[in-house]
Symmetry: C2
Subunit: 329 residues, 2 copies
C-alpha cells in the first residue's frame, strides 16, 4: 500500500536487496498511479488500484500510504488473513498494536493481532543508538533537537527542495507547494500541526513513542523538530541524563558493538555523522560523544540516519523478516 | 580592519544606515585587497593595506580580520590612541577586556583599557533573548543545539554553498575549498578545532562567553554546534532550566518588551523564527515558546538571528555608538 511513494519505492528496493522471499508481489496505490509499471526482481509489475478486496490470499501487507488510508484499509487486510506492518501514525499509540524497532523490542512483534506499527522516523533514528546505553545506564531524560530532511514529507517534498534551490540560484522566486515555508537555503519548525501546548505532532510522537517502545513510562523526553534543506537523512543533537555517572569509554564500546549503529567520531579529522553519508546506509551514524559539561550524569551525542531506510522502509522490512523467520540478520 | 570581508562589508552598511558620525573613514585590509574601491556615503574609498602605522589620528577601530591580525595590530591601534572594538576571538576571554552585548552589559564598556571584545555570533544570538528571562527567573542551565549559516565562515564560504548547490543540481561533483565537508544539501559538526574533551571551539566560546557576559560563573551551558546549508542567519534550539517554575505568559510578555528581540510565535499558522526572515533584520527572532514537558522548571525556545548583523557587525557598531554617545537607540 503506497507502492509509488518515496517509502514504497525504498521498500521495494530493500525487499530486493535482502532477497525477501516473495511468491507474489502486489503493488497497491491510488487510482492516479494504477497502471504504472514498476521494476522488481527483473520483471515489470503494474501498479494496481487499492481497494477493500485487494488483500485476498495475502500473507503480509506493508503499508505506507498515509494514516487515513491505513485506518480505512488495514482492517480489511487483517480480515483477509494478512499481517499489516503499518508505517503510518494511524495505530502507533493503540495499546493493542505493538510498536516495534527490531533492535529494541522484537519480542513485541509476537503480541500482534494483525497490525504491527512502524515508529516515526525521527523516533527510530533517535532510539536505535540510545537503547544500548539505556540497557547499561538507565536514561532518565532525553533532550533532542532535530535536523530533518525533506524526504520525511515524501518524494514531492524532495523535488520541491530541488526545484526551489534551482529557483533561488537562478534568481527566480521559489514556488511553494508542499511545505508551508521555503525549504531551499532555509529551515523551519516541523510542518506538522502545533497543539495548544506549543508542541507539534512530530515532537509528540517522539515523546510518546519512546515510552512505548522502551516500555518505560518514566523516561522523560523533550524534542524540538526542525526541517532542514537536506534530501533524505535526518540528524539529531541529543542530550541524555543517565542514572549513574557515565563512563564515556564504556559507552563508546557499547555503541561500537550495538546492532544498527555505526560510530563516526574522529575528533582530529573533525569527522562526525553527516546526513550525506548516512543516506543509503542501513546503520544510524553516531558521534560527537561527549560528557555533558553542564550536568554530572549527562552525555551528548549527534546522530544521522537515513529517513527512508532505517527511519521507515528498512525497519518495516526487518519486522516482516522476523514475522516470517527469514531475516538476513 | 578587514574592510572587504563579509563582516567588514556589513559594518560599512550599518555605519551608513545608522548615520554613524564619521569624519574620516579608513578601510584597512590585506595587501591583496589594497586599492580596491568601496562605496561609502556616496563616495568611493580606496582600501588601504593594513600596517602598524595605519592608526595615527584614529578614534575608533572596528576589527574583523581574524584573531591573529587583531593580536598583532590591536596593540598598535591602542598605542595610537584609538579604541578597538574587536570582532575576533583574540581578546574575548582576556580578563582585562570587556566582552559586551549592548542589550545585556553595556556598563562593561566603560571598563575598557583600549580594547572591547565583540562576542561570538552564536553566543550573541543566544544571549539577547535569554537575558531578559534570566533577569526575572534566573537561568541555571542552558542546553543548545545550533543551526549555523555559511556566513559565519566568511564570504567565501557563502559562495561555496552557492557553487556547491549548483554543482549538485547540475550533476557535477561539488568542489570543497573552505569547508572540510560538503555544505550543499548536507550539514556537519561545526568546522572549528575539536578539543580533547570532544567539544569544538565554537561550543567552548558559547559556554565561556555566556558566563563572562552574564557575570554569572555558575550558569551551566552545554552546546552542540552544527553548520547547515543556509546563507546568513543562525538558528538555535534552546532548552532553559530556571530557578523557579516558569509562567509562560509572563515570559512571552518579557520577550515582547525586550530590546533586540522580536517574538515570532504563531502556533495556528505554524509560523516561527526562520533564518530566511531573520536575514537582514537587526532583531533576534524568538519563538516555539513552550514549557518543557521533561522538566518542571524548564522552557523551550527556538531563535534565528542574522549572523552578520546582530551576530557581528551590528553588535560592534552598537558598542561604538555607546563609546561615542551617538547611538540611535
Amino acid at each position: 500500500m503506497g507502492a509509488t511513494g518515496a517509502v514504497g519505492e525504498e521498500m521495494l528496493k530493500i525487499l530486493g536487496e535482502r532477497r525477501f522471499p516473495v511468491d507474489r508481489l502486489v503493488l497497491l496505490a491510488s487510482a492516479r498511479s494504477a497502471g504504472r509499471k514498476v521494476a522488481f526482481g527483473g520483471r515489470q509489475l503494474a501498479v494496481e488500484e487499492l481497494g477493500e478486496d485487494s488483500f485476498k490470499g495475502m500473507d503480509l501487507v506493508l503499508a505506507s500510504a498515509g494514516g487515513l488510508i491505513s485506518k480505512k484499509f488495514a482492517p480489511h487486510a487483517v480480515k483477509a488473513g494478512a499481517v499489516v506492518v503499518d508505517n503510518t501514525s494511524a495505530y502507533r499509540m493503540d495499546p493493542a498494536v505493538p510498536l516495534v524497532v527490531p533492535e529494541i523490542n522484537p519480542a513485541d512483534i509476537q503480541k500482534h493481532r494483525g497490525i504491527i506499527a512502524n515508529p516515526n522516523c525521527s523516533t527510530i533514528i533517535m532510539l536505535v543508538p540510545i537503547w544500548p546505553i539505556h540497557q547499561k545506564n538507565r536514561i532518565r531524560r532525553v533532550l533532542v533537537a532535530t535536523y530533518q530532511a525533506a524526504s520525511g514529507a515524501g518524494a514531492k517534498a524532495m523535488k520541491e527542495l530541488e526545484d526551489q534551490s534551482r529557483d533561488v540560484l537562478e534568481g527566480r522566486p521559489p514556488r511553494k507547494e508542499i511545505f508551508p515555508h521555503q525549504i531551499a537555503f532555509n529551515l523551519f519548525s516541523h510542518n506538522s500541526a502545533v497543539k495548544d501546548d506549543g508542541y507539534n505532532e512530530e515532537e509528540i510522537k517522539m515523546i510518546q513513542e519512546t515510552k512505548k517502545i522502551f516500555h518505560d513510562g518514566k523516561i522523560r523526553v523533550v524534542a524540538t523538530t526542525v526541517r532542514v534543506p537536506v534530501f533524505r537523512a535526518h540528524s539529531e543533537a541529543i542530550y541524555l541524563e543517565l542514572s549513574e555517572k557515565p563512563d564515556l569509554g564504556l559507552i563508546r564500546k557499547i555503541l561500537e558493538g550495538a546492532p544498527g549503529v555505526k560510530v563516526v567520531d574522529d575528533r582530529r579529522k573533525n569527522y562526525f555523522p553527516m546526513p550525506l553519508e548516512a543516506s543509503g546506509q542501513d546503520d544510524v551514524l553516531v558521534g560527537r560523544l561527549r560528557l555533558d559539561v553542564s550536568s554530572p550524569k549527562g552525555i551528548c551525542l549527534f546522530v544521522s540516519g537515513d529517513q527512508l531506510r532505517k527511519g521507515a522502509a528498512l525497519n518495516a522490512v526487518q519486522i516482516a523478516e522476523i514475522l516470517c523467520h527469514c531475516g538476513e540478520r
